[in-house]
Symmetry: C2
């Protein structure tokens, strides 16, 4: 956890005003830049000190054989790991005879700013060498949202006080070695020398390197081009080696004189195109980027973001720290998804190599619900990727003896890469999560073309999976046995409530889809009685319930299990998975992350208010939040039930996960799903928005201390704005001609464009606060009294 007052609270930026070497790892992640296609960790221009150097291309991975102490049929054979590709961020500076290195000399000023409206990382350094030469370095860096393959750096050095000779070395470096990883199973797999040189060329101040992977069959070309701006006399030298391009610029600067280097980077990769063609693409992208120049690229970046903020910005008055964190979250969600274009959205975006750069259910269950109501076209893009993996998922289902398609638990390219099947392959709920994202997207957009071409395929193949995975018991109940739900401290359980409810909705969504579109049903070979079978399974879906306690067990046997001894678990015994064997976690009542409580949110239509209250309180006392996917969900359900202070606390935890490094693993990259979850905690939590049917419902209510919340919702080509104050909510429609029907606290209202509707909010009931496991209460957002 970060104890420094590292980032001052301000509305539109994350700012670092002092350099703390122990925060290098974390800042590399939170200041990382990405457009969803190309990602640059916030390594210093000079490259070091560093925790993890990172330059990532979405989908550019190496595969490697997974090994097992004892293998088994159908165990995932190959792992995939996101590669740290050719690094073009490097600009090293020599001042007279000394390298600018924050370990040496004296750092008289250090500031870095992630400007959320400019989409740039800015850095200013005043440094004095041990020999006494002082310089001011100003750099700006962007990864272009508009030009998907392009990044640009403006690097300026100014001599202070005395004349001096400086040299800049601008590098393009492949196969950089990083520190070895530890034993944390969430770490990335280290593959040294993964890139094999294919081509290395220079021309003028430009160098292009091309490399290929050894096993995954991918090739990439990376290039750098330079524009020098100075009135000093410069000499330049250009070198290229198989793994290195280097442009060195030497200049003698008088005091106040500046040397500015604009460095333009371009990356292209492919599994099919030749290295030569990729090199041409890089040269062309560089040509375009040079023609634009840094300043025009920066202006376009701001324009792109202006549009985004108008669509997505959330205003929260009364807590400027959370306001800042929410904008950071919205920015990171955009960075992870903006130019993904039919690739996966990884759990860490492109900010680090945690979880090997894999995508999980996080995407469909946390990120897409946010994007659906801000940038729905990005949801379509992400689901297009899922659709493109259907053949692999069908093959996997066949291997598992199942029908339909079995989506991978974790993957980059589409193959199952989970090396521990009880928490991977068995977590079939990912299929229903994908299906629910399809349902939500279709409901929010009415995109019939997508439904026809891809959406129905996804719904049908996942429904077929459930139909084959479950079975009818002697009492006519449809049971789903031997699966793992969201909570990874249970595994291989019978009738996980979340899974069963999500499968139920999946089956019904598929039935509705094929009934609506017989042509597509025919294309997918849907048999005449197949939809009826799905409906029958959904209608008879078994949901265990414990009459004695009046709560839903997370799975059929959960409540018969021993309660975890939280009182005997020391604070440094968390996360439990690093200190306790799975066998012990699995057989006891201890919850890593919202599971039944996730069902209370996503399938809230299946529970009464009273059931939600009892269930929430029961699981609240068992949930240790060893996953970053928990606090946001607990916040949402706490809001609904009326535990507003607790909802606020969890909102804080979700929103500050990365900025405050609450899980101490921000080195691996930011937690995109938790950040998206923080946004959901505001919209679905404080705003009380639900999308169970085709009408959006709201039940807003603010905790004490928050004065105003305003957020936009894109829905069926209209823009709805919701503004909540303690005693009322105002709904207004800003685009489109048609009125929009919504519901406010259960009451149907019609909002006409240009005619805001104001609705009253009644205060929350006073409920006794639920308790958390010993030592696991969230940090309080405000002193309660």
């Amino acid at each position: 956890m970060i104890d420094h007052p590292a980032y001052p609270v301000e509305p539109w930026a994350l700012r670092e005003t002092e350099l703390h070497l122990d925060m290098v790892a974390q800042t590399e992640s939170v200041f990382a830049l990405s457009n969803g296609h190309l990602g640059l960790r916030a390594n210093f221009d000079e490259g070091e000190p560093r925790a993890l150097s990172g330059t990532y291309l979405n989908g550019f991975y190496e595969s490697y054989p997974l090994s097992y102490g004892e293998g088994g049929y159908g165990f995932a054979e190959d792992g995939q790991t996101l590669l740290n590709v050719t690094d073009g961020k490097l600009i090293r500076l020599l001042v007279e005879d000394e390298p600018l290195d924050v370990h040496r000399g004296r750092l008289e000023r250090h500031e870095r700013v992630l400007d959320l409206r400019a989409g740039q990382l800015e850095r200013e350094v005043h440094w004095r060498s041990d020999a006494g030469h002082a310089v001011r370095v100003t750099s700006r860096r962007l990864v272009s949202f508009q030009k998907r393959s392009v990044a640009a750096i403006s690097y300026e050095v100014e001599a202070l006080e005395v004349p001096m000779r400086v040299a800049l070395q601008s590098n393009l470096l492949a196969n950089q070695r990083d520190v070895p990883s530890g034993n944390d199973p969430r770490d990335a797999t280290a593959l040294d020398g993964a890139l094999v040189s294919q081509l290395s060329v220079q021309n003028g101040l430009r160098v292009v390197l091309a490399h290929a992977t050894r096993r995954s069959g991918l090739a990439l070309a990376a290039g750098m081009e330079h524009v020098i701006e100075t009135d000093a006399v410069t000499t330049t030298r250009v070198e290229n080696e198989p793994d290195l391009g280097r442009v060195t610029i030497s200049a003698r600067l008088d005091p106040g004189q500046r040397l500015r280097l604009v460095k333009l980077l371009a990356y292209h990769w492919s599994s099919q195109e030749s290295v030569e063609w990729l090199r041409d693409q890089v040269d062309a992208s560089l040509e375009n980027a040079v023609a634009e120049g840094f300043d025009r690229l920066a202006a376009a970046q701001r324009t792109y973001l202006d549009v985004y903020w108008a669509l997505a910005d959330i205003e929260l008055d009364g807590d400027p720290e959370i306001q800042q964190a929410l904008r950071f979250a919205l920015f990171q969600v955009l960075q992870a998804s903006a130019r993904v274009e039919n690739r996966a959205i990884p759990a860490k975006g492109l900010t680090g190599s945690g979880y090997d750069g894999h995508a999980f259910w996080d995407t469909e269950a946390f990120v897409l619900p946010v994007l659906t109501y801000t940038r729905p076209e990005l949801v379509r893009s992400a689901l297009t990727w899922r659709h493109s993996t259907l053949d692999l998922a069908r093959e996997r289902a066949r291997q598992l003896g199942l029908g339909g398609a079995a989506m991978p638990w974790r993957t980059i390219h589409g193959e199952e890469c989970s090396g521990y099947w009880p928490a991977g392959t068995a977590a079939f709920h990912v299929n229903a999560d994908v299906a629910d994202a399809v349902r939500r997207y279709l409901s929010a957009t009415g995109d019939e073309q997508f439904a026809r071409e891809m959406g129905c395929d996804l719904l049908v193949e996942t429904a077929r999976l459930w139909a084959s995975l479950g079975c009818e018991d002697d009492d006519g109940h449809f049971r789903i046995n031997g699966v793992t739900g969201p909570d990874e401290y249970s595994a291989l359980v019978d009738n996980n409530v979340y899974t069963n409810l999500m499968a139920q909705r999946n089956l019904l969504s598929a039935a509705a889809c094929v009934e609506r579109d017989p042509d597509t049903a025919t294309r997918l070979g849907v048999q005449p009685d197949e939809a009826a079978t799905w409906r029958a399974a959904a209608d008879s879906m078994y949901l265990p319930y414990d009459d004695r306690l009046g709560v839903h067990p997370q799975d059929q046997d959960f409540i018969t299990h021993e309660r975890w001894d939280f009182e005997a678990t020391p604070a440094d015994g968390y996360p439990l998975l690093l200190h306790r064997h799975y066998f012990d976690l699995y057989r006891k009542q201890v919850v890593k992350q919202a599971d039944l409580v996730m069902a209370l949110f996503v399938r809230g239509d299946a529970f009464t208010a009273e059931e939600k209250r009892r269930d929430f309180e029961y699981y609240e006392a068992l949930t240790v939040r060893d996953s970053s996917l928990s606090a946001c969900v607990q916040s949402i359900v706490a809001s609904e039930i009326g535990h507003l202070d607790l909802a606020y606390d969890y909102l804080g935890e979700a929103a500050l996960m990365d900025v405050d490094d609450l899980e101490r693993n921000a080195l691996d990259g930011v937690h995109i799903a938790s950040l998206a979850g923080a946004i959901l905690a505001v919209i679905a939590g404080l705003g009380g928005m639900r999308d169970h049917g085709d009408v959006l419902s709201f039940a807003p209510r603010l905790p004490d201390g928050l004065e105003r919340l305003a957020f936009p919702i894109v829905f069926r080509a209209r823009r709805l704005r919701v503004e909540v104050t303690p005693l009322q909510a105002v709904y207004s429609v800003h685009e489109g001609d048609e009125p929009l029907e919504i519901s406010h606290w259960g009451e149907s209202i019609e909002v006409k464009p240009g005619a805001p509707v104001t609705c009253p909010i009644t205060p929350a009931p006073r409920l006794p606060a639920p308790t958390q496991p010993a030592g696991r209460a969230p940090a309080r957002r405000r002193v309660q009294g």
Copy 2:
């Protein structure tokens, strides 16, 4: 499965009369020689053709890091694999210019005989080279039961028809390479070049090589000495290299002239002694062996076996094939255990490297129940090994957050080596199996010293494990959740009946032990109320029961699961584990091996006769016998219920498992537990012997076709002989002065020494035959009508 009439039926030998190259792998295992300390696979003298060359020293292993696709806390870190050590079996023959190789020339006669009374493997070969030179080779090989470190080979070559020059090369070869293994998870781990040369010396016709392992810290010395007997003129040459000793003998033989080479081998190893000392031990052993000579070693071998057969032989009239198989089984059980001396008894004995040479619960649950009533001192030895691993098991329990000791699921040295914890670490029943072996041994021998020094330790530490593993539920039941029972097609279940019943007995045995011996209880730190806690847990042990079906579910949820679709499973789809993912096996009603049915046998005191009948029939229809540990148990319970034909069929399957290679994996070594199980199927099955309390009970009954069964039982320093014919049983006591109380079909009888008691047997009820899964019925022993 073996289709050749490979081994003619005869009472005291296993004989091969033709060479089938496709049976080389299997014969290497079934003709293997071992004394439990040193094992030689039955490779041909000349070394090739071979499937797997094998020379094993019990406990001599290498360790290697286990890797995981995704690791987790407490996963076993290192594997251990039995090493193929320095091979002294090799004697190669050159006839004029051609090597004797069964691939070449013409094999005019080939016979190998495993003589079960002589304890020798004999071979006779008439071979004619492509150039037309004919020789007769006669070899005999033994691994001495009496001299633990010694093996001896008598190799004789005789020139036939024409004079010829022959050369013998007697080798001692380390780091022999074998063919790479396949994908079967039951295969051994291949470690090339595992032995590092420490010493290589020659003296006269003797060579000694010493090697050490790289990681496990073990050293071994192996030596060979030679005695040449011939009236021909010979020249000899002796060579030694780091990994090779070679003695070459050349002779010109006239027709009818013979060259006999007696080769003596000695092996010593240690984790502590120096290589120099080990070398001295080898030289001393060789000196002793030379002094004895082959013939005296062979005579001592026969004497040792005469004693054994008098103690252990089972006579079964009416089925000479089974009679032969039972003697083979008794011989293999002896080979696996005779000179183990405080080391483990591996699942394959020392006949192959299957399962990496690991010991499992097989030892305590299958092998020791046989040895208890024939060679109880070997049980003491095997349990002494378990006792010696207690510190490791205590440490493992602590790592798992448990009390007491957690025995490894599989190991050579004592550390947990299971690389797949759901079928390893979670199979806690191994602890109760060890405890039950202790209970049985103490009951059968009254060995108070063992109880004091080791037995009570084992009972107490395993009882403590159960006390910490289980929990009391709201209804006051003691539950054991999240464990894996014997059936490996289920995992991580709640309240496995076998486990709960065995834990119950374990808890009661420990309580009785500490109550009987307060001093030992004090030494073990047993708290005043601890035994009471164990009794309370045992008394309230939860046993699930399905009222609707009137059967015990294998575990609490088993019967709610979908039934495996046996009808849709093709014959070549077995064993299922090689064709189906564990996830699917685990969540369906399909049983790899007797589990609930194992409980019906071992804890038969916990079930009524009617429950046994219903339970047996229910599980019979679900049990596919993909494990060799199943048929014998099914045979025993079928006997008890009265399904005598079925019991007979399963007896055949268990007894012929290796001789007929029923599981097609005899390459890996013989199935010691199945062979022991075949003996149990006779004694506990046909003989109906049970040892639930301190009085042995019998309920003998023969299936149609068997005329007489006689077997000895060593019990509390007496020898009981049981002779069963279709209508009566005769019990006689042959040693000791005291009468022995036993029970016959529930009736208590007293058998006085020298006064046999004859009791009547009533015929079995006519019951409808239970059914097996489609295609999984056992082969019939007789045509039924």
